[in-house]
Amino acid sequence: MSARWRYILQEAAIGLRRNLMMTFAVILSVAVSLTLLGAFLLLRDQVGLATGEWFDKIEVSIFLCDGNKCPEITDAQRNSLEQDILAEPVVASVFYESKEDAYAAFREQYRNEPDLVDSVSPDILPAAFRVKLHNPDQFEVIRDRFEAYPGVEDIIDQRELLSSFLQFTDLLQGAAIIVAVIQLIAASVLVGNTIRVAAFARREQTSIMKLVGASNWYIRLPFVVEGVIAGLAGAVVSWVLMLIAVPWATRNLRESIDIFPFIGLNEAIAVGPALILFGVGISGVASVLALRRFLDV
């Protein structure tokens, strides 16, 4: 069986080399589309990282005194606060986040900035009540009611804080995915066409193979493998691009924006498998479809 695979890989290599310019065009096209796809995925990661654990689960964060700006909240105060919050009709649910929880979450969110994490001691972060409202627009109600409550240090509407950032990334993500899809279509068409040209160039050999009783798949596979290898190469190129560009870009951004963490090398590495899957998948499917009518016995 391996003699067959050796043949298939040999033929694919010959094909790729014979038409180097087209191979190059395919790799480039796939790389561009996958880079855009990667950008989309990484933006999603970035938004997730920036908004943190609680963002889409709750609307109001009530931070509790820990001795910094006001005397540390007592257990009695905390219990009565919790009761009163729950008593509010606009409140759907309340989650308590202890200082330990907060610290753990912080470490997770800022995992790409170990220096920052090291400089923060575990008890700097306050405990908090995370409140989910029935109606998100009722933030004012909570703030007015609990602003001056004993033991409450601060009340924050995170959505307000991050709204302009989120608007910006939404736009960017939308643009990235649209262009990515268009480019992916272009790349698949290019792959399909390249494979057709390769198959046409080898039609004499193909007709002899049919004569000798080679199955359709044995005849097709070298071409499909050719397409897949080019797609894989494109995916690798875009992955390497991510690995270089992401740490560099975020390093610069980190200096100007400090209200949320940035993605880093880890996320760039993690997006690789998805890129490869898409690259191989798209070019594989495009190749198979391109050969369909062309090579039937």
Partner: protein, 232 residues
């Protein structure tokens, strides 16, 4: 081995009108036979060969080759049929970038035979056709007759039940043609059916085998030990 019943094939050329290439042809070839298909150009010889190799389908009638009804044969099963038969053509159809051995081995590689089998069978069949010393030559280094022998070796290496030959001596001079026919005769004696379309008069006359003559798509003669032209 072959059964054609009332086979008709019509072509519709782009200029309009229609050409009846085969008209109500009924023909049977038994195992081990040696049959010449003769007739002038346009007689339907090539169409008949195309139908036998399943390159095209008959418009009417039934075609059975090697026990299979070709009309019902699913297209993905056609390669299996082709592996049981051997094909020899006028233009040899060798892969130009492979040596003689590689060309013959190709027929075995393509069906996934192991290296060991390939390495023993190929020299065997090259010896049968008399080309053992040319195993590493490239096709363009060989004469027409030698190339055809390679082609025959490739057709025969899988041990087919039948050889279908379409003008195998068409590109060869008379002396070389005789050598090829002797080879085909030897192969036929091993029990392999041979069906050969040709308009090489001398060969047909000298071998005196069954002759099926086509004229304008119709079988006009089917003689057990026939000659090329009309005879008693």
């Amino acid at each position: 081995m072959i059964q054609l019943s009332n086979v008709t094939k019509t072509y519709h050329p782009s200029g309009g009108g229609e050409v009846v290439a085969l008209r109500d042809v009924t023909l049977e070839v038994a195992k081990g036979e040696f049959v010449f298909i003769v007739g002038p150009s346009g007689s339907g010889k090539s169409t008949l060969m195309k139908i036998l190799t399943r390159e095209t389908l008959a418009d009417a009638g039934e075609v059975h080759v090697a026990g299979r009804n070709l009309a019902l044969l699913k297209s993905w099963k056609v390669p299996v049929l082709r592996r049981e038969l051997g094909y020899v053509f006028q233009d040899f159809k060798l892969l130009p970038n492979k040596t003689v051995s590689e060309n013959v081995a190709f027929a075995l590689e393509v069906i996934g035979k192991q290296r060991s089998i390939i390495q023993s069978r190929v020299p065997e069949v090259l010896e049968l056709v008399g080309l053992s010393d040319k195993a590493n030559a490239m096709p363009h280094e060989l004469s027409g007759g030698q190339q055809q022998r390679v082609s025959i070796a490739r057709a025969f290496v899988n041990g087919p039940r039948m050889l279908l030959c379409d003008e195998p001596t068409g590109n060869l001079d008379p002396t070389t043609s005789v050598g090829i026919m002797k080879l085909l005769d030897r192969i036929n004696r091993t029990g392999t059916t041979v069906v050969m379309a040709t308009h090489d008069q001398h060969i047909v006359d000298s071998m005196r085998r069954r002759v099926v003559e086509l004229d304008k798509g119709v079988v006009v003669r089917d003689q057990a030990r026939g000659v090329y032209g009309y005879s008693g």
